[in-house]
């Protein structure tokens, strides 16, 4: 059950709350959670153990796939009690365990990009993971996550610059690296998700917390205590709104309960299509003779999401040393 705690999520809003210290009108929050116009949100799930993409989205139209995976492959159709792939477009299909995603595909609310990856050749899982979250492969000096860089970035085009604020929130006791950096982002610990927050506010006087009593320079513990108090107060308000809203029943798992609050803000995107160039699995095309080669730099996908979803004009130096290519067709 605790494998779920590796899955953090982000939600960033394009407009709205000036700072978390302001008293928040309840109606405003309800609008955000009901997903009304004007507040794009992004949920990022990072599967830290690594996801076997060829197992999740099976290239069952490529005969080499069955040669490479004589025992592991998912069959093209149901046979002998074994469930086969769920075909999507003749070349790719979902693993049968992912059947729950099919309605979203049919409604054109789900899309996939194949053969996306990092150009850096490291085989260290941890470095690769960090490079992804910083979106700066090979550059160890970059210490702001890509989502945090978006949060600090210039205003989205077409939006009024006044009152333009973005907010990052991880429903997890610790922030993912992608969200760490100069822009304040909140981690909301599980204890407060379960709604036993008031006892914790007795610790407030130990950490000051009033703006006129600033933390000593560099006192990271006191600073963390104050943001913890903010997070607790903030999340209790949100949770109250979500509970009042009703809605479908969610399974009683920690991740599901976290996602419950978010489900209403999901929108239709560029769904119902497989994006990206499938390189095929011919010997000559394999990376170092053994891996699926990368045909799309992951930073190009991140840039496409930021551009289309947040109308964010990705600055030249946003991805250090990399100018993202435009991906045709992704998000229209």
């Amino acid at each position: 059950m605790f494998s779920l705690d590796r899955r953090d999520f982000l939600r960033a809003t394009g407009a709205g709350l000036a700072t978390l210290r302001l008293p928040l009108p309840a109606g405003h929050l309800r609008r955000e959670f009901a997903g009304e116009e004007g507040t794009p949100a992004l949920v990022v799930l990072f599967l830290r153990g690594g996801v076997d993409a060829l197992h999740a989205l099976v290239p069952y139209g490529d005969p080499r796939y069955y040669e490479f995976r004589p025992t592991l492959a998912v069959a093209p159709e149901d046979a002998e009690g074994e469930r086969g792939v769920i075909p999507l477009d003749g070349d790719f299909g979902l693993h049968p365990a992912l059947a729950g995603l099919l309605p979203f595909w049919t409604a054109k609310r789900l899309a996939a990009v194949v053969a996306v990856g990092s150009p850096h050749p490291t085989r260290s899982h941890f470095d690769a993971q960090d490079f992804m979250e910083y979106a700066a492969p090979g550059l160890r000096t970059v210490r702001d996550g890509w989502l945090n860089r978006y949060l600090t970035g210039p205003a989205a085009t077409g939006a009024s610059s006044a009152g333009q604020h973005r907010r990052g929130l991880a429903l997890h006791g610790l922030l993912p690296r992608s969200l760490r950096g100069r822009h304040p982002a909140l981690a909301v610990p599980e204890a407060s998700v379960r709604g036993d927050g008031t006892v914790l506010e007795r610790f407030a006087p130990l950490y000051g917390g009033s703006p006129e009593e600033p933390a000593a320079e560099g006192d990271v513990v006191v600073a963390a205590g104050r943001t913890t108090l903010e997070a607790l107060a903030f999340f209790r308000r949100l949770a109250g709104e979500a509970d009042a809203g009703g809605g479908p029943a969610y399974p009683d798992s920690p991740l599901a309960q976290r996602l419950r609050v978010l489900a209403r803000i999901l929108r239709a995107g560029a769904g119902g299509r497989i994006h990206g160039a499938w390189p095929g699995l011919r010997d000559a095309d394999l990376y170092e003779g053994r891996d699926l080669p990368v045909t799309t730099d992951f930073r190009d996908v991140l840039a496409a999401v930021l551009r289309a979803h947040f109308r964010f004009d990705v600055p030249r130096d946003f991805f250090p040393g990399h100018r993202p290519a435009r991906l045709k067709g992704l998000f229209g």
Binding site: P189, F203, V220, A224, G289
Partner: protein
């Protein structure tokens, strides 16, 4: 000191019980690998970890074996080629078979995490050759036999290996010695010396230890050939250890926070599993680290905005007797100066936080005492004592080492 060192090396040579059978071996691993060698040499601990079933399973060396021989590959290629009438299909099948067998996971982590440190002068080719030299090192798992290290020559990959510019000759007579040669090179390699010295200083002194300190410790590492007590003494006796900028510079990890709260309050542990649950909520599940890196020991990894909530909850639960499985005994409170609650803060700080509180927190504690004493009716000194303990355990200063 033993516990501090054991905690460090448990994370350094991390294994996680959620992988396959590791759960069966982890207790013995802690006893026979970590604790047995914690006052011995780093090299001995390295060699013990490399042989222990927990590590062999955790990082897959137990299943790493030589790739098939040419003759074996022919046997795979031929039927495919004939059946598909395609030379390419046959070659593809044999290519796939050729890649099966060697598992580089342990070799990579051995260099990256246990000895040299990432990007410290080794190449992918070195990883591969180390993995080959280590093939055959697996464990016996047969009914009626003890589960223990076993070298299986038939899994070993023969041939010369080249590692960090050293030739490791194919040893037909004693192939197990090739892995031992690799470990012998690594355990006192200058890269290992630097990496370990830096990591120890980072753990014990400051998140960003001064290079001069690291170099002094590295010199001790070289002179004593990695004698762990000498390294700990060198750090604890170094002027940098007492320097003002390093005073309380380290944040307690959740494990250190929980253990210090329990031991300083003399808490009775009725159900040790309850402590594991608390550590889980604080994101430091014992023996369940998601990554073989072990848990990070820098403040940055633990001090996210919002992250203190779990610590406060534990502090409040423990102090007020609401924690599951652990309880502060009545004897702890019985020692409070009876009839003199105005001296309780001083007494509790002496017990729990001898280095003292910052002025803001100290004012808050005094205010708690004053408020309770000012009550006309329903004064509850027991509640006051519990609130003071909670406040101290949840204070900024208690989060620091």
């Amino acid at each position: 000191m033993r516990e501090v060192a054991a905690d460090f090396f448990r994370n350094h040579f991390c294994v996680a019980v959620d992988k396959d059978e590791v759960v069966l071996f982890a207790g013995e691993y802690e006893r026979e690998v970590i604790r047995r060698h914690v006052f011995g040499s780093f090299g001995a601990m390295l060699e013990a970890s490399a042989k222990h079933p927990a590590m062999l399973v955790y990082l897959d060396n137990a299943v790493s074996r030589r790739p098939p021989t040419k003759a074996e590959l022919k046997e795979i290629e031929l039927p495919v080629r004939l059946e598909k009438k395609s030379k390419q299909a046959g070659r593809a099948a044999s290519d796939i078979a050729a890649q099966r067998g060697l598992n580089e996971n342990y070799a990579r982590k051995l260099l990256e995490l246990h000895t040299l440190g990432v990007d410290n002068g080794y190449s992918q080719r070195d990883v591969e050759h180390v993995a080959r030299a280590l093939t055959g090192r697996t464990y016996r798992d047969e009914p009626g036999q003890p589960i223990e290290f076993l070298f299986r020559p038939e899994m070993h990959d023969p041939g010369d290996k080249r590692f960090l510019h050293t030739l490791i000759k194919d040893d037909f007579q004693d192939p197990q010695s090739e892995g031992e040669d690799v470990l012998a090179i690594l355990k006192e390699h200058p890269g290992t010396t630097r990496f370990l010295s830096h990591k120890l200083c980072r753990h014990l002194v400051s998140d960003d230890p001064a290079p001069e300190l690291v170099e002094r410790v590295a010199a001790v590492f070289r002179r004593t050939r990695g004698d762990i007590p000498s390294l700990l003494r060198a750090i604890a006796g170094d002027p940098a250890f007492f320097a003002p900028e390093n005073h309380r510079a380290k944040l307690k990890r959740p494990f250190e926070f929980v253990v210090s709260a329990l031991s300083l309050t003399g808490a009775e542990i009725q159900d040790a599993r309850a402590i594991l649950v608390v550590l889980r909520e604080l994101n430091e599940n014992l023996y369940e680290c998601k990554d073989p890196t072990g848990y990070y020991d820098q403040a940055e990894a633990w001090l996210d905005p919002g992250a203190l909530a779990g610590r406060w909850k534990f502090a409040a639960d423990l102090a007020h007797g609401e924690a599951t499985g652990v309880r502060i005994p009545a004897a702890f409170h019985a020692e409070l100066p009876a009839g003199a609650p105005e001296r309780w803060v001083e007494w509790l700080l002496h017990r729990l936080l001898p280095t003292g509180l910052d002025p803001r927190a100290a004012r808050h504690l005094d205010a708690l005492v004053a408020a309770e004493l000012a009550r006309e009716s329903s004064r509850d000194l027991g509640r006051l004592a519990r609130s003071l303990v909670a406040a101290i355990l949840g204070s900024p200063d208690f989060q620091r080492q």
